[in-house]
Amino acid sequence: MRDVSITILVPNSLKDLLRGNNQATCAGKTIKECISDLDSKFPGFSNNILNEKGEVNKSFMIFLDGQNILALNALDTSVKDGDEVSIIPFAAGG
């Protein structure tokens, strides 16, 4: 069975999250699982993206196929093979 592969994309100003890369792949059934998988590849990723309550850090906006995940099911939003998830600084959305 083919592994599920989700692409995470970040702008240059957030490349530090992915150790200097603009994109990475991860696996998971939800955004939350993807973040956990990315944390295993880029230690500290989860602590940057999430706050102490385990919610999306207010410094970021996360989008699935262009839609803010907070308008979907937040971190429990389902993802499927081939999906693209984008992360931008929160203030850029203003």
Partner: protein
């Protein structure tokens, strides 16, 4: 038409007729109401350095002239007072045309897909909203100046929420 005035923080791309009074907040030729703006209007967010955004603006200008993209604005330099290290371009449109415009952006090298509705943006700039409060803090405003700015934001943006049937009137930025 690219409007680049050095005294402005933003660089704009408008259809030439907008410069003589025509609105850009249209959907299929019809002016949008405040309610429709809140329901349908928004922007694709593009981040990058100014050189790249300048080049992108030139590539997208023909789509604005052809009235496919209503308007574009982008930072002359990163708004560091808002904690940003890259300049931001906002490609505005009605979300009913969003997919078509996304394909244009993607063809011209935009990979990060981020749609922010105008409703969401306005809520961030209302009193107590995260962006207005961050901006007030970053500008070191006095209590009185902060109060005036909050009242102005409430009046300007609150009017849009409270008068959904009126035609939307954009303001100069």
């Amino acid at each position: 038409m690219i409007i680049d005035r050095p005294d402005s923080h933003f660089i704009f791309v408008f259809h030439p007729l907008v410069m003589i009074g025509r609105k850009y907040t249209l959907y299929e030729g019809k002016e949008l109401t405040n309610g429709e703006i809140l329901q349908y209007w928004g922007k694709w967010i593009v981040l990058g350095d100014k050189t790249w955004l300048d080049e992108l603006a030139k590539k997208l200008d023909p789509y604005v002239e052809d009235e496919i993209i209503p308007c574009i604005k982008y930072d002359r330099k990163p708004p560091e007072n808002l904690g940003l290290k890259e300049a931001v371009m906002m490609v505005y449109c009605d979300k009913r045309k969003g997919d078509e415009i996304w394909e244009i952006l993607h063809q011209h090298g935009v990979n990060i897909k981020a749609w922010v509705s105008e409703r969401e943006t306005m809520e961030m700039w209302l009193p107590g909203g995260p962006l207005l409060e961050q901006w007030i803090t970053s500008m070191n405003l006095s209590e009185e100046e902060a109060r005036i700015n909050r009242e102005d934001a409430k009046a300007r943006l609150g009017y849009i929420f409270e008068h959904p049937d009126e035609i939307f009137l954009p303001w100069e930025q």
